[in-house]
C-alpha cells in the first residue's frame, strides 16, 4: 500500500510532464488498438468461417463457373450433409459507391448451412414463397433504410440488366463475427432470367458451399470431390472455408504486413518517449534514491521504484487508451461500414494493448533502474543541495 502510494505520488510529481507522457501513451495505445482491430477486420471472414464448411470452385479460377449438375454428385459423397451453391452477383445499388456483397444462392440450403444468420420464421417462409425475394443483413438494411416489403433494384455488372427484388427477410448475426452486411436472393431467379437472356450462361454456379458431418472428414471429402471431377471439362478445387477466405486475404498480404509494421513502430516510438521521461525522472531523483539507499533500502527496492513508476505511467495511459478504443472503433466502423462490415475490438487486441504497455513500461525503466541501483550513495548524496 505504502509502495503504491509512493509510486503514484512520484509519478504525478511533475504534472505537466506526466500528463504529456500519459497522453502520448494513450494515443499510442489507441492507435495500436485501432490498427490491430483493422487487421482483425481484414481477417473477419477467416474468423467467421466454419471448420464444417467446404468451398468448391473451378480449379482454373474463381471466375470460371461449374455446372449445376455437380450438385447431386457432390451430395452423394460420404460425409457431405448439405450442398448449397451460388454466384457472386456483384450488383450495384443506385450508385457504385454503395458497395456491398450480394449473391444469388439457393436460399433454403444456404440458411441451413449458415446457421449464424438468424432469420425470423415468418420472414423465412415469405422468402421461400417469393421468387423475387431477397434477404439483407441488419446492418445493410439499416444503412439504406430498407424495410420488409421494400422494392430494391440492383444494376447487374456480371449479369447485365436491372434486377428487381423485394425485401422479404432481414437477418441478424448470432454473434459479433457474423457479417450483417450481405444481401442474397434466389439463385433460381438469376438462372431462369439467364435462360431467357443468355442461355449459354444458365445452369452454372460460381461456387458450391458444402456442409460436412464432421470437421474431421474435411480432408477426405475434399479429396473425394476433386477426385470425382478430375479430368472433366470443369475440374474442381475444394478447400475449407477458412482456406478459401485466406486465399482472398493473401492477395492483400502486403497491406496487412504494412499495417502490422506501423502498429509496432507506434509502440517503439512511445517506448523511446517513456524511456526519455524515465531517464529524466531518475536523473532528477538520484539524490532521493541515495537517501533511500542510505536508510537501508537495497538496489532491488530502488529498481522496483523506477520500474513501478514507469508502469504507473504506461498502465494509466494504457487504461485510457483502451477506454477510448471502443468509442473510436464504433465511430470508425460506422464511417467505414461499406468496406469493413465487421470492426469489433477483440479481447486479443486488449491483451496485446496491455502486453505492449507492460513491455514499454519495463523496457523504459531498465536503464534508469540499472543506473540508480548501481549508483554510489555518497555520489548520489553529493547531488543534493
Amino acid at each position: 500500500m505504502f509502495a503504491l502510494k509512493l509510486l503514484w505520488r512520484n509519478a504525478f510529481r511533475h504534472r505537466l510532464r506526466t500528463f504529456l507522457t500519459v497522453l502520448g501513451i494513450t494515443v499510442a495505445i489507441l492507435a495500436f488498438g485501432m490498427l490491430r482491430t483493422f487487421i482483425d477486420a481484414w481477417y473477419a471472414g477467416v474468423e467467421a468461417s466454419s471448420a464444417s464448411r467446404l468451398v468448391t470452385r473451378n480449379a482454373i479460377s474463381l471466375i470460371f463457373p461449374l455446372p449445376i449438375s455437380y450438385k447431386d454428385r457432390i451430395r452423394q459423397i460420404e460425409g457431405v450433409k448439405i450442398v448449397s451453391y451460388g454466384n457472386w452477383f456483384g450488383g450495384i445499388y443506385i450508385d457504385e459507391k454503395n458497395l456491398f456483397a450480394n449473391f444469388a444462392v439457393d436460399i433454403e440450403s444456404y440458411l441451413k448451412l449458415y446457421t449464424e444468420f438468424i432469420l425470423p420464421p415468418e420472414q423465412h417462409a415469405a422468402v421461400v414463397r417469393d421468387r423475387k425475394a431477397c434477404v439483407a443483413g441488419r446492418k445493410l438494411a439499416d444503412r439504406f433504410g430498407w424495410k420488409i416489403g421494400d422494392s430494391i433494384v440492383l444494376k447487374g455488372t456480371i449479369f447485365p440488366g436491372d434486377w428487381e427484388f423485394v425485401l422479404r427477410g432481414i437477418y441478424h448475426g448470432r454473434d459479433k463475427t457474423a457479417d450483417e452486411s450481405q444481401m442474397f436472393f434466389h439463385w433460381n431467379y438469376l438462372n431462369e432470367t439467364m435462360k431467357k437472356l443468355v442461355p449459354r450462361r444458365a445452369d452454372q454456379v460460381g461456387f458450391y458451399m458444402i456442409g460436412i458431418t464432421s470437421p474431421a472428414l474435411s480432408s477426405d471429402v475434399t479429396l473425394a470431390i476433386d477426385g470425382i471431377f478430375r479430368n472433366s471439362l470443369a475440374e474442381t478445387l475444394t478447400e475449407s472455408e477458412k482456406a478459401f477466405a485466406l486465399g482472398f486475404i493473401s492477395m492483400t498480404e502486403a497491406i496487412v504486413i504494412a499495417i502490422k509494421l506501423v502498429s509496432f513502430v507506434v509502440i517503439i516510438i512511445i517506448m523511446a518517449v517513456v524511456a526519455n521521461t524515465m531517464a529524466m525522472t531518475a536523473r532528477e531523483r538520484i539524490g532521493g534514491y541515495a537517501v533511500f539507499k542510505t536508510l537501508g533500502f537495497g538496489a532491488g527496492h530502488i529498481a522496483g521504484m523506477i520500474f513501478g513508476e514507469s508502469l504507473v505511467l504506461t498502465m494509466t495511459g494504457c487504461a485510457l487508451g483502451i477506454a477510448l478504443t471502443f468509442p473510436a472503433a464504433r465511430a470508425f466502423a460506422a464511417a467505414m461500414s461499406n468496406y469493413l462490415p465487421i470492426f469489433n475490438v477483440s479481447a486479443s487486441t486488449i491483451y496485446m494493448d496491455i502486453a505492449a504497455a507492460l513491455l514499454v513500461g519495463v523496457v523504459a525503466g531498465i536503464f534508469p533502474a540499472w543506473r540508480a541501483a548501481n549508483m554510489r550513495i555518497a555520489e548520489g548524496l553529493s547531488r543534493i543541495g
Binding site: 505504502f2 510529481r13 537517501v291 539507499k293 537501508g296 533500502f297 555518497a378 543541495g385
Partner: protein, 231 residues
C-alpha cells in the same frame, strides 16, 4: 545510556582515496581512533579535509580502500552491499545538511520509511512514528508535507526519521548548515538531548563552532589526517 568505557567504534589504519581520471587523490590517510559508546563527537576541519568522507565510511555508505571500521563488534568493511544496507537500517540514523526528506511523503510517512524494512506491524509502526515525532516536538505536524514545514521543522522530521528505529549511532553531516541561528540552536539542543537522555552516540561533521561546543570531543582533520583532539 551507553557504556563510556567501551568503544562502540574502532577505526584502524583507515585510508580512502578517489580517482579523477588517471589521478589518485588521497582523502584519508592511515586514520586510527576509537569512539566510546555514548560519545558526542564533532569532526571539524577545513573544506576538503575528509570529514564527510570519514563520516560516510563510519556510516557504511562508502567503502574504504584499506583499514578496518569495527562498530558494535562488527567490521563493516567486510560486509557486502546487501549486508551493509541491512546493517545501516538497524544501527545508524542519518541527519543531513539539507534534511533529505522525500517531498511526496508527509512528515509521518517520511519517519515511517526506515520502519518499512522491519517486521513491525502497521500499528507498531504508527506507535513508533508518533513517539519519534513527539520527541522532536512535531506531533501536530504529522500530516504536513516537507514543503509545508520550515527548515528547522524539516530537520526535526529528519531527526525523528533518524531515531525511529532506535539506532545506537547517529551521524550528522552539517545538521545546522542550512538553518538560521535560532533553528540551529533548537536542533543542536535536540541532538544534545538525544545524546544525554537516550545515550545515542553522535558523530557530527560541522564547521559551526557553536555546534562543536555541544560535543564532548572535537577531532580536527586536515588533509586527510587527524590533527588534534579537544575534550
Amino acid at each position: 545510556m551507553g557504556n563510556p568505557d567501551k568503544p562502540i567504534v574502532r577505526i584502524r589504519n583507515l585510508s580512502k582515496s578517489y580517482r579523477r581520471g588517471s589521478q589518485v587523490i588521497p582523502v584519508l590517510e592511515d586514520i586510527s581512533f576509537d569512539i566510546p559508546d555514548g560519545e558526542f563527537l564533532a569532526l571539524m576541519g577545513p573544506s576538503g579535509s575528509g570529514k564527510s568522507t570519514l563520516l560516510n565510511l563510519l556510516a557504511g555508505i562508502d567503502k574504504a580502500d584499506c583499514g578496518t571500521i569495527e562498530i558494535g563488534g562488527i567490521d563493516i568493511t567486510t560486509l557486502d552491499e546487501t549486508a551493509l544496507a541491512g546493517w545501516r537500517a538497524l544501527n545508524v540514523g542519518f541527519i543531513f545538511q539539507f534534511y533529505n526528506l522525500i517531498p511526496v511523503l508527509t512528515a509521518f510517512e517520511n519517519v515511517e520509511l526506515p520502519l518499512l524494512l522491519t517486521r513491525l506491524s502497521k500499528k507498531e509502526r504508527r506507535d513508533h512514528v508518533e513517539t519519534a515525532l513527539r520527541v522532536v516536538g512535531l506531533a501536530d505536524r504529522m500530516a504536513h508535507y516537507p514543503s509545508q514545514l520550515s527548515g528547522g521543522q524539516q530537520q526535526r522530521v529528519a531527526i525523528a526519521r533518524a531515531v525511529v528505529t532506535d539506532p545506537a549511532i547517529l551521524v550528522a553531516d552539517e545538521p545546522t548548515g542550512d538553518l538560521d541561528r535560532h533553528s540551529a540552536g533548537e536542533i543542536l539542543d535536540l541532538v544534545d538531548r538525544l545524546n544525554h537522555e537516550s545515550g545515542k552516540t553522535i558523530i557530527m561533521v560541522t564547521h559551526d563552532p557553536r555546534a562543536a561546543d555541544k560535543a564532548h570531543t572535537i577531532r580536527y582533520l586536515e588533509k586527510g589526517e587527524l590533527k588534534d583532539v579537544c575534550a
